[in-house]
Structure formats: structure tokens, C-alpha cells
Symmetry: C2
Subunit: 308 residues, 2 copies
């Protein structure tokens, strides 16, 4: 029976100033998804590994399979599909874990069926996975996981997704402190109304970050990552956040922020060596405060999910 | 006695989604400023023409001269300067009239003194002129009037101004309905707090507009001009605004909005012919509603203020 195996990458949503509109993909960590045609007309979850038993076993409730069910309904396929999910990244960590699983499932099954839909056409299905996982069909993880690179969601209605260029060498250090912040809780502490003056500063930064990506100006990218809206609230959930920011800066990071809803933090750096030094220094700082942490260093992933 | 004459252009601030952070310069209309060295150690207003007697005659209170006084203090010059201001554009119109006068005065006197400051260094002085004129030292008119082109103000503190590229052929139609909206009143109706969902949509548009300018994508520029924050409030001051928007669209405009605090409206168009047709159709519509209007069509002015 035909099968395909897909790697779907972790993603950094928000990326500083771009709350709900910006995201980027990295090369590691990520999930692996194996999908096979079964011919029995059903979508089954053959295996879920690496989740410590915490993800739903019901195919309708697990992100990786629920998005495939909707996808098969949409294209009118009567195929049966068996899915194995190898979680190779933490979840509830701000790394786009649910997005990686949904994207991996969709890319794998779409491949099995001869790619009737384009990557962009898969996007709405992956977004429904986000609605299932966190109550909100946001695109800032699934879009970069599908399309790769640095992605801007101009609009959700109608959906308008723009791939941005990434300067050569731009690297991301990711540090995941082993504390848990449920995405839904992290979203709930966000204010419903914000001061106009803060909003103006934020959209100035978003525009400048896009400018920095196009013009390849690392310093402009760095100073544009400033987030005056969400970070001041969410950082309270990450002990020692301001100190971590200082350490990233001292070690040469261009900019620093919370990855998605946290607790993972990210630092954009001009090259891999700097990103490695920043990651190590952040892990050391957390260890000194008796918080275990895992780190990854990766260039920006321009491809998104790939067949293995 | 040495003298110089400068043309300083009108500017479109906000440019749709970019409230307080985006502005662009056009080639017409604009003000002309004549400055001469007098040797008497004072800044005098020799002549103000075209203002129907409405601008202050006191050099400390007129924008064009007050910024020059601050500039001369800063560079420690004991020179005397006589300034003639030829207003060739309406004021209280949303075309950056006070910005043009301030920029023209500064560029002229800086030239007279051998350009001790760069254009960017003149910016804070021009911004002080805006504070005098409308109570707020905003930069989204003075920056494009000084630097030309499409300008993004990432941050006011510290001041961080970015020149954006402009696609070839991009044209601006300006239509000034002869109704008056004082800038200060137009600012006062803006809300102090805004819904997060609107803010997210706005910064998605700002990022996308910058992307469209770099990638030279006219359609993306057009749909990114959407302003969900300020236009819904300010358009109430412009009778028939929604109908004007429809007419601009039907006649081929990429996007349409309020220039600065209005009542002038602008339409970005892919070429000069389209911009001309849009301007004519808007003027006709206003005439049908018994509102006189003046229109201009101009490519984006990449130079800013120039010596004549």
C-alpha cells in the first residue's frame, strides 16, 4: 500500500510586532507524519508517538486527522487514509505544534492523492485545525509551515497571504523553558481594546520589519521586532523575561521576543554562530534559575513542509 | 544679497492604512519659498502671498519662519534671513500645507548657509513646525516633503524614518472639495482606544502595503490601502465619501482614501491617464452635489523639495 512521510516544521508566530499577521518557519524542530492509503473509506490514527499520551486518539478530535477528514470531504474523495503522527516537538510551547501536525497531515495526504490542491489551497483546512486546537483559526503558524519562509497574513477576510523575502544567513535561536502556558490562556490575557498610540507604534514596526526583510537590513529587522502590544502582557507568564532579552542582546541577537503564545522565546540573529551563542546563553540563564530548557538553532526554512 | 527659491511639495499623510506612519510626496501642488540673507541678525517675513491674509504675520508664529528661527539657534548662526512665502496650495485641506511651508523655509535657509545639515537632520525642525500648526509634531507630511517618495516613520522615539521604493508609473490623483476641516478638529474625532481586531487588520495592511511597494505589485498596493481605523470616523466629515470611493474604483484606481485629515481625497493609480480620469470623475461627482473642487494629478515625487 502506497505511503508518504512528511516533515512539517515548527514555526514562530507573531515574530515580535506582527501579532496574528506574521510567522516564520524553521528547519528544526518539527513533526513527522506518515500517511498511507487504506482503501477502507475511513481516516484512522494508526499511531501517535512522542505525545506522552496527551493528544486525542479520536481521529475527529486530533488535529492531524481532523483536517484530513475535512480535506477529503472537500475534494470528494472516498479514499481511506491511515495516519501515524511522530511528535518530535513539545506542544503548548509556542512553536506551532498543532500547526505542524495539521500541515504535515494535509501535505502527506494531498501527495498521496496526486496533489489535487496547491499548498495555498491547503491553508484553509490547516486553519480549521488551529480552530480545533486553540479555538481560533489563526494562520500565522500554518501559513509558514505550509509555504516556508517569512509569511504575512494581510487579511483573514478574504484570506490574503503574502510570502516575504528572507535575507541570506538570517538565523533563529529558539529556547523553550520547560514551563507550560496553554495557548488558550495566553490568548485570553490579551486586551480587547488597545491605546491608539501603541497601535500606531506597532504598525510602524510591522511596516519597517517588512521593509527590512526586502532591503536585507539586519539592524532594521532587529529594531522593528519591538512589540508594545502583546509582549508587555504575555511576558509576565515567562519568569525572568526581561533578563533573557538583555542576555540575547548582549550576545549579539538582532531582536528577541516570544514565539507565538510562549513560553518559547526566539532571537533573530545575523548568522548561525551568533544564534548558537545566544541559545546557549539563554539556556544557561534559565538553568541558573532552576528552569530546564531545550534550544534549537536554525536558518529560516524557505521550503516549509517537505516529503522525506 | 544672496537668495534662493525653493519649491516644497504637497504630501499625502496616512496613505490609507498608515495613520501617523506613512506619507508620500507629489509634484504638484506645492509652495514656493524665497529666502535671502539680510545680515541684520533677525528672521523677518518679507511677504506672505496666496493665503488670503489668514496666516500669521509674526515670524515666531508663522510656520515657515518659526522653524527657521529654531534652526538658526541650533546651528548657532547669527545670520539674518528674510523669507517670502508664496502659498500655492490650499491650507486646512489635508495636503500638508504647513509641512510644505516649513520644509521650504528650512531647505532654502540651509542652502543659503551652505547646507550645514542634511535633509534628515532638518526633519526635527520641520516637525516642530507641525506642532505649531496643528498641536502635534507628526512627521508623515514633513518627512516626504523633505526626502521625497514614499516614507515610513517606524518610530517617533527615537525618530526612525525609512524611505520606501516606489514602483514606476505609480500616480496620485488628488481632489480637494472646497469645504474646510481644521486639522485639529479632524484629529480630535479620532478614538483614543481601538479594538484589537481592527488594529490587527490595520498592521496587516501596513505590512502588505510596504511589501507591495518593494515587489512592485499594484494590486497588492491597492487592496492594502484599506483603513479600518481612521477613515470610518473621518469620512463623516466628507459628504458623499463612499460614493466617491466607488467612482474612483469604477474608473480604475488601485486604492482610494482621505489625504491626511482631509477633506482632500487621493487615489493611487497605475498610470497618469487613469489618475486623470479618476480625478475628473471625482470632480464631476462633487459638482453634481454642488461642491466645487480642485484636482491635481502627479506621479509620486521622488525628490522632495527642490531649488528653483
Amino acid at each position: 500500500m502506497k505511503s508518504v512521510r512528511v516533515f512539517a516544521p515548527a514555526t514562530v508566530a507573531n515574530v515580535g510586532c506582527g501579532y496574528d499577521v506574521l510567522g516564520l518557519a524553521v528547519y528544526r524542530p518539527g513533526d513527522e507524519i506518515l500517511a498511507r492509503l487504506t482503501g477502507n473509506g475511513k481516516v484512522s490514527l494508526d499511531l501517535v508517538e512522542g505525545d506522552e499520551g496527551r493528544l486525542p486518539a479520536d481521529p475527529e478530535k486530533n488535529t492531524v486527522s481532523s483536517v484530513v477528514i475535512r480535506y477529503l470531504e472537500f475534494i470528494g474523495s472516498k479514499q481511506g487514509v491511515g495516519i501515524s503522527l511522530y511528535k518530535k516537538m513539545p506542544f503548548g510551547s509556542g512553536l506551532g505544534s498543532s500547526a505542524a501536525s495539521a500541515v504535515g497531515g494535509l501535505v502527506a495526504v494531498n501527495e498521496l492523492l496526486g496533489n489535487p490542491l496547491s499548498r495555498r489551497e491547503l491553508l484553509p483546512f490547516a486553519m480549521e485545525g488551529e480552530r480545533l486546537a486553540c479555538g481560533n483559526a489563526h494562520a500565522d503558524n500554518v501559513a509558514p509551515a505550509l509555504l516556508g519562509g517569512f509569511v504575512l497574513i494581510r487579511s483573514y477576510d478574504p484570506l490574503d497571504v503574502i510570502s516575504l523575502p528572507v535575507p541570506d544567513g538570517l538565523c533563529c535561536a529558539l529556547v523553550y523553558p520547560h514551563i507550560e502556558i496553554p495557548t488558550m490562556a495566553a490568548r485570553q490575557i490579551i486586551r480587547q481594546n488597545i491605546p491608539m498610540t501603541d497601535a500606531i507604534r506597532q504598525w510602524g514596526n510591522v511596516g519597517a520589519l517588512v521593509s527590512g526583510l526586502y532591503s536585507g537590513d539586519p539592524e532594521l529587522i532587529g529594531r522593528s521586532l519591538e512589540d508594545v502590544i502583546v509582549e508587555p502582557v504575555r511576558k509576565m507568564l515567562i519568569p525572568g523575561f526581561d533578563r533573557l532579552r538583555d542576555i540575547a542582546s548582549v550576545n549579539g541577537a538582532l531582536g528577541f521576543g516570544i514565539s507565538g503564545s510562549g513560553p518559547t522565546v526566539f532571537a533573530l540573529c545575523g548568522n548561525k554562530n551568533t544564534a548558537g551563542a545566544v541559545a546557549d546563553a539563554l539556556v544557561d540563564e534559565l538553568a541558573g534559575n532552576k528552569v530546564d530548557a531545550t534550544s534549537w538553532v536554525s536558518e529560516i526554512n524557505g521550503r516549509g513542509a517537505v516529503l522525506l
